[in-house]
């Protein structure tokens, strides 16, 4: 990489710092790798006498993931630091604002939990309005209005336009 990012995480005194969170990624890889391996171990021989058994690929993938996890941990210990993804809308000069991420995640969790009951028309409007608000919009009525319009339009677009019966949920009989 030849480009110089403005945000390379170099501590003020000029020494590189370790990215401790990267051990978390290594841990995640280890867990995934082990899950793949355990899953592979639980597979029996295929339905016919196959030369490539169903567990063959998973063993390879799982083993390499465990290996990569180890390599990453070593690299992290030796001071390897990721170059975070920059972008137009991303301000890396400030610390990460995980509270906003959690709020946005919560919005999505609420959507997932309620969509079967409330149906797309309501949940879609909520999704738009709530995520716009979390992301900094302060015009509640407008947000809800746009969200409602979007979700109703898409709902009718599917149901009447494409003839795909998207569930109406609690609004069945109303829409």
């Amino acid at each position: 990489m030849t480009t110089t990012e403005t945000t390379t995480p170099v501590a003020p005194d000029g020494t590189t710092r370790k990215d401790v969170a990267q051990y978390g990624l290594a841990g995640f890889l280890l867990v995934v790798g082990i899950v793949v391996l355990i899953d592979a171990a639980g597979l029996s021989d295929g339905f016919a006498d196959q030369p490539v058994q169903p567990y063959a690929f998973p063993y390879v993938v799982g083993a390499v993931l465990v290996l990569l996890s180890g390599l990453l941990a070593v690299a992290t210990w030796r001071g390897d630091v990721p170059e975070e993804d920059d972008g137009e809308d991303v301000d890396l000069t400030q610390g990460s604002d995980w509270a906003t991420v959690i709020k946005l995640g919560l919005v999505l969790v609420i959507v997932i939990a309620t969509i079967d009951f409330l149906g797309w028309a309501i949940v879609g409007a909520f999704l738009f309005a709530a995520s716009a608000r979390v992301l900094g919009s302060r015009t509640l009525i407008l947000d809800v209005g746009i969200g409602t319009a979007l979700s109703l339009l898409t709902w009718y677009g599917f149901y009447s336009g494409l003839g795909i019966p998207i569930p109406a949920g609690v609004l069945d009989g109303v829409l």
């Binding site: 110089t4 390379t8 993938v61 799982g62 630091v81 301000d91 990460s96 906003t100 738009f128 947000d143």
Partner: protein, 503 residues
């Protein structure tokens, strides 16, 4: 040629022209949505075969197919939300271009590239359809395995600055690709039938690109007011044209044969094209930040592949994609049976269809090129709305596949992965490639070795396979020589990465 002119006469009747317009519009609309694609749309429209004459019906379906291939790219570029699996690669550079105010150019190069590729592809159908049948069926599992292996090998060229992160991405992708019951046993499904068919690459791409991006932006909201994304020039500059035309042609060269091959598809040629452009470009510094070649090539590739699909369909009645399979059902509803005699027995229909493909291509260009600057303005809406809209759209797409909350949970789960990938600088392309290629590589290997009863020599028993392995060897030697020449004392991986930090 007379036949083709007659074909145009058939296709240009007001009625058939209308069906072509409806087709491309409908195709574009469904191509835009991640959940539904051209295959499903054609299938839902199958009942029209009862009321519409065959030529018009097939013109409509072909329009949907071409339109869908195009529509998927629009949301890839504008919203980082690919509508079809063949548009996933387009998002890599396309969305970066859009973010830096070059959305109109990205959309334009996609439109013109699709037109060029579609037109060349249609010409190739005319030339090749009668002769290609024999070649297509000669390729067996060993050849496909070799081709998939070559594709996987080329990915190592784009692992990014940190090889270890590239491999992490690739193997997470392969792990995702393991999910499902293709082997007859449940792998990584955790007992859930919803996972039995595996995780669709469109879901993975939408989650990693769109949801991951929205979460990442949420974590780093700019505290000061944002500049609106500049609109920039509405049209492609001379330089843009100069940089686009070669990728268009190369993309076509990748896409067409893959489309014509029964196990080819549209995804593999798009990323082969991307990788090639990235290697050949004179502006390597722009890749990853919005290089126009990275949009032009893959977009040409996916449209050329759509054209290629029609070759085996018309020549031997062989569908190579889901959409082609449904179009075949439509033909059978009309009592038509494509095959070697089809082009002689039904000249009016076949040439009318081919002529309408030219027309569909032209229509797509005429409709989309003027719209490019209009769409580009869409990005000027306020940031909260832009990202809320992306979340809304991505969720609708995932939900519309099956109307179950499970798919949304999957989207969120993989979206978190996308967030982590941004935080730890894990490249996206190897992951997507892993998801696409892993299952195919395994399937072809299993098939080849089952047929040969475990005799490994079957893998190089087909000439195409041998050629592919030779190419792979040449590339391998070439890349070793190249890296010797360019990087004096090769640093170790970790040093490599830490050097970046101090750079």
């Amino acid at each position: 040629m007379d036949l083709l002119l007659e074909g145009f006469a058939t296709a240009l009747t007001p009625e058939n022209l209308m069906y072509a317009v409806i087709g491309v519009l409908l195709g574009t609309a469904v191509g835009v949505l991640p959940g539904i694609g051209p295959a499903m749309t054609v299938a839902l429209l199958l009942p029209v075969t009862f009321s519409v004459p065959p030529t018009s019906g097939l013109i409509l379906f072909a329009g949907i197919y071409y339109g869908g291939m195009y529509g998927g790219s629009t949301t890839s570029i504008l919203l980082n939300t690919p509508g079809e699996s063949s548009s996933v690669v387009t998002a890599l550079e396309g969305n970066k271009m859009a973010k830096s105010g070059r959305a109109a150019q990205a959309l334009a190069t996609a439109a013109v590239g699709s037109f060029v590729a579609g037109t060349i592809g249609t010409l190739l159908i005319v030339l090749l359809a009668p002769n290609i049948a024999d070649v297509v069926v000669k390729l067996g599992a060993p050849s496909y395995f070799a081709i998939m292996a070559l594709a996987l090998f080329t990915v190592t060229a784009v692992l990014g600055s940190s090889k270890i992160r590239g491999f992490i991405a690739l193997f997470i992708g392969l792990a995702i690709g393991l999910v499902g019951t293709t082997t007859g046993q449940q792998r990584m499904t955790f007992g859930s039938p919803q996972l039995a068919d595996g995780i669709d690459v469109v879901v993975v791409a939408v989650a990693v690109f769109a949801i991951g991006e929205a979460l990442w932006v949420a974590a780093h909201l700019r505290s000061k007011p944002l500049d609106v994304i500049p609109v920039g020039q509405p049209w492609m500059s001379r330089d843009d044209w100069g940089r686009s035309w070669k990728p268009w042609l190369r993309g076509t060269a990748f896409g067409f044969p893959f489309g014509a091959l029964p196990a080819g598809g549209a995804e593999v040629p798009t990323f082969l094209s991307y990788i090639t452009e990235r290697r050949l470009t004179k502006h390597p510094e722009e890749f990853g930040k919005g290089a126009i070649e990275g949009v032009a090539g893959p977009e040409a590739a996916n449209n050329a592949s759509a054209a290629g699909t029609l070759v085996p369909l018309l020549a031997i009645g062989l569908p190579t994609t889901a959409t082609a399979a449904v179009i075949l059902v439509a033909m059978q509803n009309y009592g038509l049976q494509p095959g070697p005699q089809f082009m002689d027995a039904q000249p009016k229909l076949v040439w009318g269809l081919l002529a309408s493909l030219f027309i569909a291509n032209t229509l797509l260009l005429v409709l989309n090129l003027p719209l490019a600057p209009v769409w580009a303005k869409l990005l000027q809406i306020r940031r909260p709305y832009l990202y809320a809209g992306i979340l809304f759209f991505a969720s609708l797409g995932a939900y519309s596949v099956n109307f179950q909350a499970f798919d949304l949970a999957l989207l969120l789960g993989i979206g978190m992965l996308g967030l982590a990938m941004r935080r730890f600088a894990i490249p996206v392309l190897p992951l997507i490639v892993g998801v696409i290629l892993g299952p195919r590589l395994e399937e072809q290997l299993t098939q080849a070795l089952s047929i040969s009863q475990g005799d490994v020599s079957t893998l190089w028993s087909e000439p195409v396979a041998v050629v592919v392995y030779i190419v792979m060897a040449i590339l391998l030697v070439g890349s070793v020589v190249m890296s010797r020449r360019t990087t004096p004392p090769a640093p170790t991986r970790t040093e490599d990465a830490s050097m970046d930090v101090n750079a």
